[in-house]
Amino acid sequence: MRKKLEIGLVFGCLVAISLLFVFGPKEKISLSEKRSLATLPALTWDSYISGTFSKGMQSYINDHFPFRAQAVRLTEAFRYNLGFHLQNQEKIVVVGNPNKIKEPEDSNLDSAAQKAYLEGFEEFDAGSMVILNGKIYTQNSGDPAISPYFAKMLNVYADSLWGKARVFSAVAPLSSAFIPLKSYERYVGRNEATLKAIQTNLNPGVYFADVMGEMNQHYNEYLWYGSDHHWTGLGAYYGYVAFCKAAGITPVPLSSMEKKVRKGFLGTLYELTRDQSVRDNPDLVETYIPPGIETKAVRYNPYDLKNPQLTKVFCNSANYSTFICGDAPLMKITTNVKNGKKIAVVKNSMGNAFVVYLISHYEQIYVVDFRYSKHNLLKIMKDAKVDDLVFAVGMYAAVSRGTIGMMRQLAYQKNQDYSDVLKQEEAQRILDSINGVQDTVVVQSQN
């Protein structure tokens, strides 16, 4: 009897779970993984013989398995309880699959190989991380051998824009420079060397914002999320202060800004490491809102300037996408600062938290995400008569030939006629002012 019960329990469990799978509901996307889940593969002779059917089926079963979220949580608790936990004792974990796509040797910008490379290139923070008292720090530390290429790319922009617009470098360091343990001091030096290599390779007349120097003055403040690969709103504020110093602008004091705090943020590095000590220390999402500024923002698709969609500078979400509502290929922010000043910001996601402070100083802000935008940056700047161009990126972007190539590509890629859009916007503005509508940014299709 006992043996039967023993067998029945195990077998019953197998059957019950498989039935739950077959008849249970299936999700389409996984928000925590930021990806779509596998769909049921079609069984054809070709798909079977090539093995894609069995692989697809396996992915489908894996992605839709019952109690998946609970299983992941249980695993996390299990791993956490495999031993003791010491205070102030760092743990090193390796995450992700840091497969790098090799850049083609033919670096001609128009070559098919180069284009395919840039299309397929993905920024990915993977590798070795340090977990210390519930906070995760990357162990990546830049590369002073590559960052000069970033500077040279900026020099090319500065040459093209000479006399028309100022060009700024505002590269953020990596969190590895802020690991509060003496044994990791080497990363401080590497970060500094990487940024210094940018500064020394910039031509005279190209501006360098000393972001790391500014952040270092506030070393013990909440500059980095412990569970995410981004800097906090506060960290980005010091980046903005560094930019203001380089640009000759007076930064808006933090004390005059409205502070909003949202709790319970667990970001990408937590998802990658699934470390319970991090889960037990969720991040605060603090946003500082510059006083007295009204904004209107629109975002565009990657390839054209048709069908802009309304968006916001501050979104009501308790994660990093609270800043400019997440990444968009191209975004235009119009403010009620009637000084006629315009700026273009080339950025990866690190720039999102930085951009929000610029609304106090510019009437128009063009935010270009170099990873997604297929618009021609120089053409937009020329048509809109932009005064400043700032590269506000995290250091990953400045130490990879792939991302530097993408930023360089912005100057060369498809020529969009942005002047038409501006004309339509101007016409609408005049119409609105006649109708008594104030400060409205036109959201209108070119079609």
């Binding site: 043996k3 039967k4 019960l5 023993e6 329990l9 195990v10 077998f11 469990c13 197998l14 779970i17 498989s18 996307i29 925590s32 993984e33 930021k34 990806r35 779509s36 079977y48 013989i49 090539s50 093995g51 069995s54 396996q58 079963i61 894996n62 398995f65 109690f67 998946r68 609970q70 299983a71 992941v72 695993t75 996390e76 299990f78 791993r79 309880n81 495999l82 031993g83 003791f84 936990h85 010491l86 004792q89 760092e90 090193i92 974990v93 390796v94 993905e122 920024e123 990915f124 923070d125 070795s128 343990l181 990791y184 690969h229 990408t268 998802e271 990658l272 699934r274 990444d327 996601s349």
Partner: protein
């Protein structure tokens, strides 16, 4: 398909069990096992299933031929040579072609292109299994199997198809015809399977995370203690991975009424290198002993040469690369030393023998892990001296995996040798184990499932919809 996948555990396994036990007739049951075995194999290798079929049918006919012409020595020999040449030819083509061509090009300056054939899963196991069958029929140790279904089932039986144990036909011949149902058998099988799943998914994979970290990611910064730590963990990962798989195979076999030979017996309690390999992957050792070592002369003639030949082949069997050969010869060399210096070894206290065996075996895993000779050289150097200081995270790893290490060590201790069956401690422990076994099986299964599911959790930094 692998045992430690959701597809196997929650779909293939319950379906095969339901279909199998829906019938009482052993012939139908054999047919069902055959069908499921081919589905199992073809799931991952839809094309190479033909190779499996070919190898099995070849030896089926060779067996029949030898049986039919038992009096005609030349035909018998021809069938045997046919089996040896074709099976080893299959291995040479599908496993060693690139290796042979690389070495030919290197030695003779030729420039043959490598065919880059992907190794068909399990080929090293099933070719040995069919080959051993033909040799045994030739030697008259077993009768040839007349029924093609039964023979195909013996070769392709999914529990042991892709990673052994290497079953001899004589061991299961009777069971292919008569397998009376027995709850005790199924229960033992379920226990063994769950234990194996736990060893593979929970122990081996957890240890494996650290192995990757120390032997790959932090390779350049390793201190000497960390290098040893990494290689010992790798050794443990191999043990729990492979013995776990064997446990699952043996357990599944028991569920379907087969008794497969044991493959491991507490190797880490060995007192010499030779003793270690009497306890590790025993069915491979047995194969090479019976079909290579003894025919070469065994202990009686050229023993040292025979040991080195067997270990050269053992190395080569593990992979088509010189590092495996080096590994085999390194171990073979120690076995020769143990033979030559036996009287001195006999003088050593037991704990010294344990320490010696562990040291040599763990050291030898370096040859197994690094197939890049440059890296291997650097690593072997680090095992003796490294200027690097001990890394900051090592202490944390020792602490934060402390319970895992305790469980791992407990699993390596040969409890049943210390407290043999019939002893009072064994009786008491068995009684308690029976009391908990209900919960333990379920715990092992669900924990392993959670870990497998976690492995499929694949977060991205940016949205990929």
């Amino acid at each position: 398909m692998v045992f430690s996948s959701l597809t196997f555990l929650y779909f293939f396994l319950p379906l095969s069990i339901v279909f199998y036990f829906a019938f009482k007739n052993v012939r139908i049951q054999n047919f069902i096992l055959l069908v499921f075995s081919f589905i199992f194999y073809a799931w991952g290798e839809p094309v190479w299933v033909i190779l499996l079929l070919f190898s099995a049918l070849l030896d089926y006919f060779n067996g029949l031929l030898i049986d039919k012409f038992r009096e005609n020595k030349s035909i018998r020999l021809l069938a045997l040579v046919n089996s040896i040449v074709i099976n080893l030819g299959l291995l040479a083509t599908f496993k060693y072609a690139d290796f042979i061509i690389q070495n030919t090009n290197f030695l003779f300056g030729t420039s043959f292109t490598e065919p880059n054939i992907l190794l068909p899963v399990g080929i090293s196991f099933y070719t040995f299994q069919t080959l051993s069958y033909t040799i045994d029929v030739y030697k008259g140790e077993v009768k040839a199997e007349k029924d093609p279904i039964d023979f195909l089932m013996f070769v392709s039986l999914f529990p042991q198809l892709v990673a052994g144990p290497i079953v001899r036909y004589a061991e299961v011949a009777a069971q292919t015809r008569v397998r009376p149902f027995d709850w005790a058998n199924v229960s033992t099988g379920v226990n063994r399977f769950c234990l194996g799943l736990f060893k593979k998914v929970v122990l081996a994979n957890s240890v494996g995370i650290l192995v990757e970290k120390y032997l790959q990611v932090q390779f350049n910064d390793l201190s000497t203690p960390e290098a040893w730590f990494g290689i010992v963990l790798y050794s443990l990962q191999l043990y729990f991975d492979f013995s776990g798989y064997s446990d699952m195979a043996i357990g599944l076999g028991r569920i379907f009424g087969f008794t497969f030979p044991e493959n491991f017996r507490h190797p880490y309690a060995a007192t010499s290198v030779a003793n270690f390999y009497q306890r590790w992957h025993k069915t491979l050792g047995r194969f090479l002993r019976d079909y290579v070592y003894i025919p070469l002369g065994g202990n009686k003639k050229y023993q040292i040469r025979n040991i080195l030949v067997v270990w050269f082949l053992t190395g080569l069997w593990h992979g088509a690369s010189w590092n495996f050969v080096l590994w085999g010869l390194f171990l073979g060399g120690f076995m020769v030393i143990e033979k030559v210096l036996k009287k001195y070894f006999d003088l050593l206290p037991r704990f010294a023998l344990y320490a010696y065996a562990l040291l040599v075996v763990n050291f030898s895993r370096s040859f197994f892990y690094f197939d890049d000779f440059d890296k291997l050289g650097i690593f072997l150097g680090k095992l003796f001296y490294s200027p690097n200081p001990i890394g900051a995270g090592w202490g944390t790893d020792l602490a934060s995996y402390a319970f895992l290490f305790v469980v791992v060590i407990l699993f390596c201790i040969p409890w049943d040798e210390i407290f043999p069956k019939g002893s009072r401690t064994n009786d008491v422990a068995s009684k308690y184990y029976r009391g908990f076994s209900l919960g333990i099986n379920l715990l092992f299964l669900l924990l392993a499932t959670a870990l497998i599911v976690d492995d499929t959790y694949n977060p991205f930094i940016y949205f990929r919809f």
